[in-house]
């Protein structure tokens, strides 16, 4: 049984990888996956705390997060597909219509 901080460190690393991916990768699908990674790193944190504090609420919350993430994935992928149909690409740099 490792200590709480080990879980938190893994979770933080996963979160940073996800955040870096969102910030610097160009492919929308990968960015999308990175978002999922960030979500799941947070899930890991929740479960870790829940386990170590003996409180089941954190585990329940994770189920909610996963459900919402599933729905969000469906919507997100649909948006990606329709974006691809419009521009024939999923490179994020090409979507800059809101440039000021």
């Amino acid at each position: 049984m490792s200590s709480l901080s080990n879980y938190l460190i893994v979770s933080a690393i996963l979160f940073m990888i996800g955040a870096a991916g969102v910030m610097f990768r160009k492919n929308v699908i990968i960015i999308f996956m990175c978002v999922e990674l960030m979500l799941n790193s947070v899930n890991l944190t929740l479960i870790a705390f829940s386990q170590f504090m003996g409180d089941q609420q954190g585990q329940i919350l994770v189920f909610f997060v996963m459900t919402v993430a599933a729905a969000e994935a469906a919507v997100g992928l649909a948006i990606v597909i329709s974006a691809y149909r419009n521009k024939d690409t999923v490179e994020i740099d090409h979507f800059n219509l809101l440039k000021g």
């Binding site: 910030m23 610097f24 994020i92 740099d93 979507f95 440039k99 000021g100």
Partner: protein, 642 residues
């Protein structure tokens, strides 16, 4: 006793509520009536109800002892700032009940008349909506227990007057007349506002009781003088005195019932109400009273001179109203406040009757107002003729009709409390009054028919129109009995005006006995009136054309028919310079350069700054994500470090 007073207090608000409901019902649902006549009946019944309540209150007041007659009704607080407290509260006393009875009584008659006169007009419901609103506002004016609520009514009646003068707004000249009335009145209202500001400074209150009580204990001082001058400026606007009388003759552009109700019987007398109500203030400022007397007599004379040769029947009556208002102010100016109110009362009867009579003539003549195209109407309109004739005798001051008593009382007070000169000028005005009213009567009803009787035969008016005429003619005949012959009105008003009148009389030097002159003067003024009528008979009874007047009278005729060029003078002295300054300075410099410059300048500055700021918005989502993360990191480090 107390219980009855409590009942009255509960009842009094309904005097206002009834026409207010009429206004709301007609105003909100008027467009949906299948039968438009409903609007007329709702309006008439609403005002009749409030007249009945007012009459009931009056009868109750009669049976009360004198000192308990003033009834105070507080509905709710309106403005409460610091020590100043202004309420929506009413004061019903001997003075206001007279005005309430006149407003609702004559108002009800004129509503009834309007149901006939306005029949078929496309704005029928709108007309009654405005008319009911007018009654509400006029009641606020006279029932208020403080200057501010009176001012609310004062402005409200001004609004209704504007709406009703411009009632037939399709014609530009009607709209212009409405604007003229409104703008000229604003000048007077400015005076009223300044007076209220000064009252707040001097007395710290706007309630009649506080202001008048404060003034009594303070005695004469220059601020009170200024307050009364400013109030009088307000009165010259609303009650059409020199220099602001010019709007009233133009106000005749409105429908005739409006001229009768608003521009003759009620609204224009609100200035007299205000002065009579504040009689103690005015009594404490002899200079203002002197100014009022001079302005009043000048107005009475000049308006009468203009009325002499007008050919539009309503214009004659309009100038006659201005002139009669002059007489009322003459009464107030010499400190005979009761006499002024008495003339308001009798004038309301006979002038409403004359206006409604002229309305009946205009109605019968298919909207012809020019007396040159009338004549010989006596046999076509017998009822209208008789009522008009009785009211003419009343205004001319022939005993025992109403106008004789009230006018004579004012003239007598002008002599005994003012000066013989005021009396002489007033008598001259009375002579002209008799002359021009008789002239109007002869030109309209006697002589040759100067219109095409075969194609458009004039017809007598409906019952809804002649009933009010007959009632008002009856009042014109008998109304005078309320005043000097029985002394009833004088006694009734004494608690209100006594104090002011006694201050004025005490300040006059030399109590020489003038009583011996009263009867001779009275006889002289009757003779003068009769001479005026006879002169008009001689020249106008069988008149065929008016064209000869111009030749035989020369310059004076020209001055009179052109209204002494007062409008032209105001146009040159005030209106054109105002336009000039507005155009060359206010528009081209202040507006274009300064106002527009500031606005455009600020827009240019924002545009310039934003050309830098907008660079942040790259449109690339990842940049935003970086900014969010960096922001979070900065905030986190701030929280963790400090």
């Amino acid at each position: 006793m107390l219980r009855r007073k409590k009942d009255l207090q509960n009842l009094i608000p309904y005097i206002v509520v009834a026409p207010l409901l009429g206004f709301l019902i007609n105003g909100l649902f008027g467009g949906r009536y299948k039968n438009k006549a409903v609007a007329g009946w709702i309006g008439t019944i609403a005002v009749t109800i409030s007249f009945i309540i007012a009459a009931g209150v009056f009868i109750e007041m009669l049976s009360m002892p004198e000192e308990h007659r003033a009834i105070h009704v507080k509905l709710f607080d309106w403005i409460s700032v610091g020590k100043v407290n202004v309420g929506i509260s009413y004061l019903i006393d001997q003075l206001s009940i007279i005005f309430i009875l006149v407003i609702t009584g004559i108002g009800a008659l004129i509503h009834l008349y309007s149901t006939g006169y306005m029949k078929g007009d496309p704005g029928y419901t709108r007309f009654f909506t405005y008319l009911n609103l007018f009654i509400v506002m006029m009641l606020q004016l006279v029932m208020a227990d403080n200057y501010l609520l009176t001012f609310l009514g004062w402005e409200g009646v001004g609004l209704c007057s504007y709406l009703l003068i411009g009632f037939w707004y399709e014609e530009v000249k009607n709209g212009d007349a409405a604007k003229k009335a409104f703008i000229v009145n604003r000048i007077g209202d400015f005076g009223f506002l300044v007076a209220m500001g000064l009252m707040l400074v001097l007395f710290g209150s706007l309630n009649y009781s506080d202001v008048l009580g404060g003034a009594t204990s303070m005695g004469q001082n220059s601020t009170i003088g200024l307050i009364t001058m400013m109030l009088f400026l307000g009165c010259t606007g609303k009650s059409a005195q020199i220099p602001l009388y010019i709007w009233l003759p133009d106000a005749m552009a409105g429908p005739t019932p409006v001229s009768a109700l608003i521009h003759a019987a009620t609204m224009v007398t609100s200035g007299i109400y205000l002065v009579a109500r504040s009689n103690i203030l005015f009594a404490l400022s002899p200079t203002t009273l002197a100014v009022i007397s001079i302005v009043a007599i000048a107005t009475a004379l000049i308006a009468a001179m203009i009325a002499l040769f007008q050919n539009d029947i309503k214009k004659v009556l309009a100038y006659s109203t201005v002139s009669q208002l002059g007489y009322m102010f003459l009464g107030l100016g010499v400190g005979a406040f009761g006499a002024g109110v008495f003339h308001v009362l009798t004038h309301a009867f006979f002038k409403a009757c004359l206006f409604l009579g002229s309305g009946a003539v205009i109605h019968a003549m298919h909207h012809e107002q020019d007396m040159q195209k009338m004549g010989g109407l006596k046999k076509y309109l017998p009822i209208t003729f008789w009522t008009f004739a009785l009211a003419t005798l009343a205004i001319a001051g022939i005993p025992p009709f109403a106008g004789f008593f009230s006018k004579d009382e004012i003239l007598w007070k002008a002599f005994s409390q003012g000066s013989p000169i005021l009396w002489a000028l007033g008598a001259l005005g009375a002579f002209m009054t008799a002359f021009y009213m008789a002239r109007a009567l002869y030109l309209t009803f006697y002589g040759k028919e100067r219109f095409d009787a075969h194609h458009h035969p004039p017809h007598e008016v409906d019952a809804s129109m002649w009933i009010p005429l007959v009632v008002l003619a009856g009042l014109s005949v008998l109304g005078g009995l309320l005043g000097s012959p029985t002394g009833a009105l004088e006694k009734w008003l004494a608690p209100i005006v006594e104090k002011g009148e006694s201050i004025v009389i005490a300040s006059r030097s030399g109590g020489s006995n003038l009583e011996q002159f009263e009867l001779p003067l009275l006889i002289i003024s009757v003779i003068i009136a009769i001479v005026g009528i006879l002169l008009a008979t001689r020249y106008y009874k069988n008149r065929i054309t008016l064209a000869t007047d111009e030749k035989s009278l020369g310059g004076f005729y020209k001055l009179s028919t052109n209204k002494f060029y007062v409008d032209e003078f105001y146009d040159g002295a005030i209106i054109q310079p105002t336009y000039g300054v507005s155009d060359s300075f206010l528009y081209k410099i202040v507006d274009v350069k300064i106002v527009d410059g500031v606005i455009n300048g600020s827009a240019i500055m924002v545009d310039m700054l934003s050309s830098y700021a907008r660079k942040i918005q790259t449109g690339i989502i990842q940049n935003y994500a970086v900014m969010i993360v960096v922001g979070i990191l900065v905030l986190l480090s701030y929280v963790l470090i400090f």
